[in-house]
Symmetry: C2
Subunit: 349 residues, 2 copies
């Protein structure tokens, strides 16, 4: 297995360390930190340019800063061999997915990182147990998606297929919006306190504002990379605050109580859903070997809240057919089988 | 010292236990739970009615549910002796302060409570170390404010004088608004996830939404009691979100970075200010013995962020003059002396 890493900082370096240490892959890298990455054991070779890095590569990871990703992915797709899967590690996915309809491209987003940047902080176990979003499109090659899925699993992460637009909307709602609200809360409290000391009202204010003023060196880029989805989320927040205001002005205690109960139930559902685990079930289906099929299955299950914990694709000898094996959580197996059958594929459970 | 407790639940019962146990006071109580409070040792006597409870009282604490406070305070002021300080324990203060210009009345708000209500959960140490806001007005009797200040200290709490309007605006900003935002965040994330599992993005979403759906049995009353200030706070939040939106749309990374730095500095300042402690300094001043003087001093220091950790008032023999002793944090002593002198009172440090 030959892997190319384009941009060898914290994430790229950790991919190199894990690919060499866990998968026995041969890893070439390119970028300013590549020589140092070789010293750290994150790369077998520092390539002098993209073409050399990608020569004979089975997979290429683009791990450059988020603003540079679209152009670098373009260049990598131009230089990569026909059978090489190309992915990136940016924190927003819609723009890059829209720009790259190439069947070799699958957007990616590992939920892993550290406070300190640079290859010197790279670790082989950075992705251990981490969720790693993959955003295949309807044009993505099934064989290449399956390869990337297995690779990401091999790096120690849990790959989760998700539609690029849903990914960005979700990240706006659960990460970027809470950061904006935390900033607004501290600014507003500073104004309201007007020199008074913060009352020791328990941990609610501390918790709600814990992420206020997060690292000014990286958060501008994170906000701006997901600007479109974040602006939509802000507009929705303003609308919801207007509804809350109306309920308060109305003074209907029973409606407020119902609102509290709903928020409680929603939060429990969100957090419990995030903790699903346990035994998995294997599901097999015969599928035609054409682009988009595997992506379709992955997205359909993802939309239904079913996570694919592992995936294997075995093409038939003549390469026109294939069998896909999916591993999903035991309680979701029947639903998954129904959805795959609903797409028109024969399921063997 | 004779103390009357009107409404003997968790808070009233704990006042009774602490007043008897720590101050050796004689405590009479009135309300449905009064007989049980006697059994628990929280009262010396269960009075059959307000008049009996207040007969000869030096201080009266109104600890009924928040919606009933204004009417009960009216009734208590009508029945209480001329030299009895009357206070309440409601979580919002502007409405009750405006309704009661009586020189015997001082609004109060202990930042203490427990999940379980009722006198059976009352504890002598419920107020130990707790902030207890007092909202004297310009008409409040200095002698009675000083008595209440010492009483609250004797119950184990730290009294903090604050303007009623600032109190409500502050509580809206640091408690009620974060609760509303937490509810909005979970509703919005539920919509955005659309069946996807919550990504394990670290603790930011959990923390930001920890208070979502707080106890539906009590939060409607808490929101509604502070409705006016909360509606103003919501409008301000919407305005600030509009500013944040404009900065994002503008795409100026340097402005966003400055915004992050400001939020970080504001949060540090808020939390550090909440942790001031250390040695205190005694400050004495001669003051005329007329209503409003002590309140004026307490409010002036409060507005400057200076907390009075203790207070003692000694009237002159002819009762026209007095000397007030104030204890403030060592580093704030010089500023406090300057402010008191600025009000026209001779300071002896």
């Amino acid at each position: 297995m030959n892997i190319a890493v384009v941009g060898v900082g914290l994430i790229g370096g950790s991919i190199g360390l894990a690919a060499r240490g866990r998968l026995g892959a041969h890893v070439r890298g390119v970028g300013p930190e590549a020589p140092r990455a070789v010293e750290r054991g994150a790369l077998d070779e520092a390539a002098p340019d993209l073409a050399s890095a990608l020569d004979g590569a089975d997979a290429a990871f683009v791990a450059v800063p988020v603003g540079a990703i679209p152009d670098v992915v373009d260049a990598v797709l131009a230089a990569a061999p026909p059978g090489c899967v190309v992915t990136d590690v940016g924190s927003t996915k819609r723009a890059v997915a829209a720009a790259h309809a190439d069947e070799r491209f699958v957007g990616g987003h590992p939920l892993a990182g550290a406070e300190a940047a640079g290859v010197d902080h790279a670790r082989e176990d950075l992705f251990g147990g981490a969720t790693w979003y993959l955003t295949p499109s309807r044009t993505t090659s099934g064989v290449l998606l399956e390869r990337l899925h297995r690779l990401v699993t091999g790096l120690g992460a849990h790959p989760v297929a998700i539609d690029a637009e849903t990914h960005d909307r979700m990240m706006a709602a659960v990460s970027h919006l809470p950061h904006v609200l935390a900033n607004v809360l501290v600014a507003q409290a500073t104004g309201a306190l007007d020199g008074e000391r913060l009352p020791p009202t328990g941990p609610s204010f501390r918790d709600a504002t814990r992420v206020a003023g997060a690292n000014p060196a990286i958060w501008p880029d994170i906000y701006l990379a997901n600007r479109d989805a974040l602006v939509v989320a802000l507009d929705e927040t303003v609308r919801r605050l207007g509804e809350a205001r109306a309920v308060l002005v109305d003074g209907d205690a029973e409606r407020i109580a119902a609102w509290q109960r709903e928020a409680d139930a929603e939060r429990r559902a969100l957090l419990e859903a995030g903790l699903v685990g346990g035994p998995v079930h294997e599901l097999r289906a015969a599928v035609p070997n054409r682009p988009g099929v595997i992506a379709d299955i992955a997205l359909t299950l993802g939309e239904a809240g079913i996570n694919i914990s592992d995936m294997a694709l075995s093409p038939s000898p003549d390469n026109t057919q294939g069998e896909i094996a999916l591993w999903v959580a035991e309680p979701q197996a029947a639903a998954a089988a129904g959805l795959v059958a609903g797409l028109g594929f024969a399921v063997v459970s």
